[in-house]
């Protein structure tokens, strides 16, 4: 999953994107510590005119998730059920 906020300093909600960044960082840290992997979540900052960059990020995240493989909990449950 990735969260896309406005460029820092350009948020309509003033500090909304900065708070979002902190929360995403917290989520990454928790996921890393519980063994799921913090790289599954990311925060990006883009302006509304950066469509191509948005597409690049989507590709990057897709590649990253594919490389990481499925959620380890899900795969363990599938094995258990089998």
């Amino acid at each position: 999953m990735y969260v896309v906020g406005c460029m820092e300093g350009d948020c309509r909600f003033k500090t909304g994107n900065l708070r979002a960044k902190k929360r995403v960082f917290q989520a990454k840290e928790i996921l890393e510590k519980v063994g799921i992997g913090g790289d599954r979540v990311e925060m990006f900052n883009l302006s509304s005119g950066e469509g191509p960059k948005f597409a690049e990020i989507a590709t990057e995240m897709t590649q990253r998730i594919k490389a990481l493989g499925p959620n380890p909990i899900k795969s363990k449950h599938v094995k258990k059920a089998a």
Binding site: Q26, I30, L31, K33, V34, G35, I36, P72, I73, K76, H77, K80
Partner: protein, 222 residues
Amino acid sequence: MIVASKKPIEEIIETVQGSKRLLIVGCNECVTVCEAGGKKEVGILASALRMYFMNQGKDMTIDEATLERQCDKEYLEEIKHMVPNYDTILSLACGVGVQFMAEMYKDKPVLPGVNTTFMGATLDRGMWGERCAGCGQCILAKTAAVCPVARCAKRLFNGPCGGSTKGKCEINPDTDCAWQLIIDRLKALGRLDDYDELMPIKDWSKDRAGGPRIVVREDIRL
């Protein structure tokens, strides 16, 4: 408020790993304000622990509850019907709540989920500072509402000491010298003459030196 900070999740995992049925209980008061042990933190911690133990292949039930307060019996009683269903309670309240919970549910292990730190105020978003040490004999009237017990590293009553430099304390260049703050404020209030008055020796028996304290109000006791 009582200020606490979240314990590292690794420490919590270590303390709860023997449990099979865990109840995480938050508190709606101080620890909610300092974002350490409120309903939101209970939810995040419960989800994190579920993920961790599922990933470890351990079958563990983790449920959540958040009480109005954990320092009053009537609120602790609200989970009376739930407690028998769990083998361990993890309280995200301050140390007071953890102990009071354990006093009420005597046969249940009650574990702390936060580090209780001090009585303080919100200085900024995500920043809290100590303001009161609960010394039992408030002298703020004499010190222009700046507490040397809580805010002077040496708890000096007639300061500052020689470690005060440019308004900062020798223990840390970011820490204000409480006595510099007192002098500045006395000056601003036109009361600098009060600084000349020597403060008497404090009766520390009203502080922790006198052992655990209890307040009895016969005028309101039933």
